[in-house]
Symmetry: C2
Subunit: 936 residues, 2 copies
């Protein structure tokens, strides 16, 4: 199945001969020995030609006021000069009328074709062009003067264009020196320095007896003075002049010539053409490949936006070759379509070596070679914003799970342990692991296990931390066994079904937790309904003698209403509780402990932070504000939403629950040191018995860790430095040993935060051709961002004075946002949406072109049922074994037929990646999602 | 300037020969003697031909398992059978490869063309087709058997398609009787009954020695049994068979033939063709007009969504004619473009007759002829939802303005007067006025005037209601003079600038009022900050002897804190205030009168109702849910949002401020009857002096009334029954006299609610061709909805028990929604958005193609400044003269140049409406707005 994001990834390979090869102007280093785009472009052999910028200079004003004006320009797409509005149109897919191409062809047949013309400047070029023509000397002179006249270019140097300020009409430009404004043309920075220019001159010239066509290829490209908008060397020159013609004849013919020249295959042919015949053959080849839109069903003046994804030139040439070879291509293609992708070859990281610790050794060797660049690659400003974003997410996570742990273990662990453990484990993992983009965190399943372990210890009067140490020792041992036996290679059997189920579950847990915490908050700060016993609070003072016992109290009346206790107080006031305490009094009454307005205000803060985080994230794809502003707003969406929430909270000054950060550096449990004693009060055999719960926890950790690792190492993220499944598991095992000994929480890879981490490190190509969509190049793979995040997390223990201003509802809102963002990017959710859509409104997804709708719905329904069952299990004490259950079910419940859908039908982009596909994704997809949680 | 909505309106004229003429299957009556679409289609003369449904039956499975299968179908757009998925694709613009059209042409040249073939059934047809061919008798037999074989149609009778359940392969269908499933085909309901069918049969047939092409036009259309998907008579039959060909040759050729046949101009030509030469000429004419997309810049397999607006066939034929006539069309077109629309001819309603009351008499005559249909046209279910929606808006308005009036006039008028006046004035207006779609309401400017008049009366000890009666008498007199002198014809000088300014201001007032009321609410229900004197409330009882004076109180301590009064009470409890009162006690303390949580909960209700009203409205353009559900959600968006808000409020049961509805039917001011005495305590000369404020109020009412009337009667709403400016003003004058005498508020036309009223009465064409966008046909112009709304408003005085459950914040939220919705539809707002957009992200608006950006920005800025000044004036007591000020300014402040932009540059749809325009609006506009507040 093909999602929007994936299209974008594929797009990069579509531009190989224009952008990905030479023009990849992204600043990030590209150490990869064989990136796919390079390979592609070498294969094609077209990329050695410099890119071409084409402009159309039109002759306007016949007969009174002749002037040349640039009215169109092309790289990949067309930009048209809006003469009245004085601006360039947005880039769009050029559309031509078929007759204009035919007229152009016949004019070239009759006209002059000069290939490898040796002209060294415009004057020489013009002389060549007019000399050969059978024109009278007088006409020749007039024509020469006209061709040497300086054209008007519309150069947008500022927001307010300088158009028309100094009209440079009728000034000859044979001096061959480009003007200042040409050098200052901002377009120049968009063009690669080696680009060449083709100029098409077209227009009505009444004094010519018959149409005059000329096509010139210069032997050596040369800057033709003020002829071209940018002072780059010209390679092609095309002249299309003549007497009056119906319609916008010459304009359309000029456009046709320019569009032809902007076609990479035509460029390739015409650079190598040796005579008119070659030129015409190239034109005919172009005509063979055009797409035709019928009249009436399409307004020919409508502008088509540039598609997100261009069809690959490579594909074009191949499909043509095959067509020439002829015969039954169609049936072959059909068969290919149905066969689907062949059996998957596991990636090298997941091939079994057969030696003890063989995989680990391989991982270490592979990773060692990248180790230096793992730090150098982080030197990019983008990493700064990534650190800030992930730091906040990590701290939020640490606080939340710290609070939950403290609650689950009766204070045996708490927020301080959570901070410290996160910092130590995370930093160590980022320094040493196989996939340093992974962010370690406490996770839901592990938390549930810990809660059960603690209950067990308490019920059987066991010393919790020593028992837990032994569990940790056993888990580490089992994990080492798994590493030694290379058990991680099993992950290649995870299917889309498994991964999507896992992702959806984790996302739902995030959403559920966020909402659950808000509900808990309304219990802590109840809403005061009319008649609710929240009224009534007064301040009781000792009498002036300070003798409390002398307070006169009357007896309670004999009524069952507990509120109606009689007041027999002589010394009391109605001061608010805080002031009362200050003045030595004591607040009395049921209303003293209720804080009004907090519940609803918290809800407002929660919604505010959620909506603004979402809105800021989406600013990136909106059309408002300059791109820098949009990028900042989008990259710092969570930070800005948190700041906004804090600001709102501070403005109203209500006593909302705030983040509590430990102020002293010592274990939460009073009276214990940092090291856990190996036995404590427990009997010796408990250290052996601990192997049983450890076995469960090992399965849990293995699944939790490896599913996340598989998701992070997907091919669609174009990671260059490879995965390290064995090394990752080894690190997790060692860290579990360490944290058990120190009495800190246990950590595994966290899917949602790790994906957010990768998302904030996306590399995209800088766009060169106007209208071209930036393509996804990969992720900044390095160890520094994670390391800094965890060092900062460690220091956050001392940030209490700042962090204590963050209201908890704001953090819950960010949690909700993270869950929703992760959920919205998986295909499963898109399929659930399909359930609600009438067939005629369904998007033109690849999936739906190839799989019957009821099959898709059935697959979705099975996934929904599984997810529902998982959720039920997760909500019961059986939660600790749920990842195991999941794996079993996937292979039991899913019938062969369904599995074949998930492997073939739902993933037709595999066949689409091939070279012969008869359909493609609908290209008008308005927005580009961020990183996708979907398997390739 | 061309807005999205307008495009849609224009779209209707684009389909004249297919849909607007015969296919207009909307149930609404069309009494209009000369609707524009009818005129257009008559002009073209094409519409007499029945529409054509084309299907492609493809021969698959050569050589083993030959079978015919319908793989594509066309009306306006293409639907492709997704063979794997077993469903029809969404309708899309067909794209062809140029070679397929050329192959088709050469096959037709060599092949058989039978025009006016007399075959009466499929067998005869097949015999005709194969007899003429130079085939061996054996081949002929095989071919005949093959052609008579029943094809497979994919007929989606239910959501779960019956595809493949009974494969009807290899069954001859020469029995000529259509099957049950063909009759049950839901497609048949979409096709007009007079439609004809064209069938294209194409495929690879290896035993043929050479390609076989045949094109047949049947003399008398006949149902060809099971050959076609729908049992409609066939007119055309096209056969394209042959030996293996590279690529998907026959499939593409068949598609080319089908697309050709789906072209209205080709249809026209081929229906009248008398020989092969005519047929080829039609094909060549088609080729002349196709749009060509270059390869590489466009993936030919991408599906282009149907454009919102089709280019008119009329335009096509004209532009072609002109091109044939040749010469300098371009310069002509250019000149036309620049000239802009000529001087506007005022519509008949606004032509001065020159007689006293001439305009009024004309209005009455015009309207009298429609009077019966004004009631009959309301018999449509849509009117029911319109009544509900507008009733709620009117009641909300009546309550709000009633409350404000009561406040402004110290209770001289109140909510009861507001309800009664609204009901009486509104119902009378709907029965008698020229434009019964108008909704009368209290408006902001009139309210401000009333407030000032009351202050003046109070300061000078005047009797307010009698004074007001005289003002009303004078206003009515002045208005009658305006009617008599036909002053309303002046409204034709209102420009876009005036109207947009007015609309924006009214919308801002709605938004400002909604927000202002929410702020007021937080003052009434303050948020309890820590330290806020809201704590402390207890219940004081009389002692058991019931002797209040015996309560022991200690003296207040000598402190300035008013809260710290000592309590010397012996009989008190902490019961909530309500219970305390019930039990005979008395609540004491500062905390007793504060209601916590209300402010934030009100804010939540406000936001909820605003967001849900907006969201429900937008459901219409989403792709979820069946269209019936979407329509209901969208039409009842406000009602649903109000119900949701009430539900939420009832669920939590907080004491939010609720709607207060009078329970007794009597004037709010105690001691006055329903008739206002003409003098009261005022001196006699005051009745003359009242003429001065009356003059001001007359100007105010004239402007307020007529700007709204101009907006409602815009050409883009396609009103059939004409306007009645004079009659409207006459009605308003009479009603002012009446309401003054009864002491009820004054009423004029309210822009926002009236537009909402029209919006809820839109008529749209039922779509016939798949992929065709419904076109706007007009408004259900009738008097009944308004009448019922106001009758219900009158009865609402007795609905207090139900209406009292509606919380005020919910109503404020709906107000905000109405303001925002009205604001978002005016071009001014779109131009303000342009200010924030970088040039390259700006949408491809007509405006921006023709007017320089800095001019557009300057125009917007001037409008913004004017609006700011208007707002300032509106906020001061000078508000009463603001409409006058506005008119003066518009003509003073706006330089000639700006005015020329507003008249020409910003309204290029006038020139676009013509027949020669070189550009058109970008067609990929994702959503269609509702009624636009923008002048044509």
């Amino acid at each position: 199945m093909k999602l929007q994001g994936q299209e974008e990834y594929e797009a990069s390979s579509a531009h190989e001969n224009v952008s990905a090869g030479e023009l990849e102007s992204d600043h990030g280093p590209s150490h990869s020995p064989g990136s796919s785009s390079e390979t592609d472009s070498r294969e094609l052999g077209v990329c050695t030609d410099p890119p071409l910028f084409i402009q159309l200079n039109e002759l306007l004003g016949w007969p009174e006021a002749l002037e040349w004006r640039e009215t169109g320009r092309w790289m990949l797409f067309e930009e048209k000069l809006e003469v009245d509005a004085g601006r360039w149109s947005a880039p769009h897919v050029p559309t031509l009328a078929l007759p204009s191409l035919q007229h152009l062809r016949s004019l070239l047949v009759k006209g002059l074709v000069l290939l490898d013309c040796p002209a060294r400047n415009l004057l020489e070029l013009v002389e060549q062009v007019i000399r050969v023509e059978s024109l009278s000397p007088e006409l020749r002179g007039q024509l020469q003067a006209l061709l040497l006249q300086r054209p008007q270019h519309h150069i947008q140097t500022r927001t307010w264009p300088c158009w028309g300020s100094t009209p440079p009409k009728k000034v000859p430009h044979n001096e061959n020196v480009p003007l200042k404004e040409q050098h200052q043309n901002p377009l120049r920075q968009k063009l690669p320095p080696e680009a060449e220019v083709a100029t098409v001159l077209a227009g009505e010239l009444g004094f010519l007896p018959q149409p005059l066509g000329a096509f010139v290829r210069l032997r050596d490209p040369v800057v033709l003075g003020t002829l071209t908008e940018v002072p780059l060397p010209s390679r092609f020159f095309c002249l299309l002049l003549g007497p009056a013609m119906p319609g916008r004849g010459y304009h359309e013919m000029g456009r046709a010539a320019a569009v032809l020249l902007s076609d990479p295959q035509f460029q390739w042919s015409v650079r190598r053409a040796s005579n008119l015949h070659d030129l015409l053959a190239a034109l005919d080849a172009f005509l063979e490949e055009v797409t035709v839109l019928p009249p009436g069903r399409w307004d020919p003046t409508a502008r088509i936006l540039p598609p997100k994804c261009l069809s690959s030139q490579h594909k074009r040439s191949l499909s043509r070759k095959r067509e020439v070879e002829g015969f039954s291509t169609r049936r072959m293609a059909g068969a290919e379509d149905r066969r689907g992708p062949g059996p998957q070859v596991p990636c090298p990281e997941l091939q079994r070596t057969g030696r003890l610790f063989g995989g680990l050794v391989q991982d270490v060797n592979r990773k060692a070679s990248w180790y230096t660049t793992d730090f150098l690659d982080a030197l990019h400003p983008q990493c700064f914003s990534a650190v800030l974003y992930i730091y906040l997410a990590t701290v939020t996570n640490a606080i939340t799970f710290g609070g939950l742990l403290g609650d689950a273990t009766d204070g045996a662990q708490g927020v301080l342990e959570s901070f410290l453990g996160t910092a130590v484990a995370g930093a160590a993992f980022c320094l040493l692991a196989g996939q340093p983009l992974t962010i370690l965190s406490s996770t839901g399943p592990v938390l549930v296990f810990e809660r059960l372990l603690f209950s067990f210890s308490r019920d059987h009067n066991l010393d919790y931390l020593p028992f837990r140490l032994w569990v940790g020792i056993w888990v580490a041992t089992f994990c080492l066994v798994l590493v030694a036996t290379e058990a991680s290679v099993l992950v290649r059997y995870f299917t889309r079904f498994t991964e999507e189920g896992f992702c959806a579950l984790i996302s739902f847990i995030f959403i559920y937790d966020a909402l659950g915490k808000m509900v808990n908050l309304t219990h802590a700060y109840p809403i005061q309904r009319p008649g609710f016993p929240g009224y009534g609070c007064f301040c009781q003072y000792p009498d002036p003698q300070g003798n409390e016992s002398q307070w006169a109290t009357t007896k309670q009346k004999n009524r069952d209403d507990i509120l109606s206790m009689d007041l027999g107080l002589v010394n009391a006031s109605l001061l608010p509780p805080s002031e009362c305490t200050q003045q030595g009094g004591q607040p009395r009454g049921p209303g003293c402990h209720t804080v009004p307005d907090i519940a609803f205000f918290s809800l407002l803060l929660f919604l505010t932070s959620f909506f603004f985080a979402t809105a800021f994230k989406h600013v990136k794809t909106s059309s408002f504000f300059p791109s820098v502003v949009r990028k900042v707003l989008s990259d710092f969406s969570s930070v800005l939403a948190i700041l906004l929430g804090c600001g709102l909270d501070a403005f109203l000054g209500l006593a909302t629950p705030k983040l509590t950060v430990p102020t002293e550096f010592k274990p939460t449990l009073p009276g214990r040191g940092w090291l856990v004693s190996p036995f404590g009060a427990n009997p010796w055999w408990l250290s052996v018995a601990a192997a049983l719960p450890a076995l469960l926890l090992t399965i849990l950790i293995f699944m939790d860790q490896q599913i996340t690792a598989v998701i992070l190492n997907r091919a669609e993220y174009k990671l260059q430095k490879g995965a390290g499944f064995h090394l990752d598991l080894f690190c997790v095992a060692v860290l579990i040993l360490l944290t058990s000994a120190l009495g800190l929480p246990w950590y595994v890879s966290a899917t949602v935060i790790s994906l957010a981490h990768m998302d904030s490190l996306r590399r995209e190509s800088r766009v060169c051709a106007p209208g071209e969509a930036p393509s996804f190049l990969g992720i900044r793979e390095q160890r520094l961002t994670g390391l800094v995040v965890f060092i900062l997390t460690g220091f956050s223990i001392f940030l209490a004075p700042v962090l204590k201003f963050i209201p908890m509802p704001v953090l819950y809102g960010i949690f909700l946002y993270m869950g929703v963002a992760a959920l919205s990017s998986i295909q499963f959710v898109k399929r659930v949406q399909l359930l609600l859509m009438p067939a005629k409104h369904q998007p033109d997804l690849m999936l739906l072109r190839h799989v019957p709708l009821n099959r898709v719905h059935l697959f979705t329904a099975i996934q929904l049922v599984c997810l529902g069952l998982l959720w039920i299990i997760k909500s019961t004490p059986a939660a600790i074994i749920f990842p195991l259950m999941e794996l079993l079910w996937l292979d039991e419940l899913m019938p062969e037929e369904e599995r074949s859908i998930s492997e073939k039908g739902l993933e037709p982009e595999q066949s689409f990646g091939g070279d012969e596909s008869q359909d493609s994704e609908l290209m008008y997809q308005p927005k580009v999602p961020e990183i996708n949680i979907s398997v390739n």
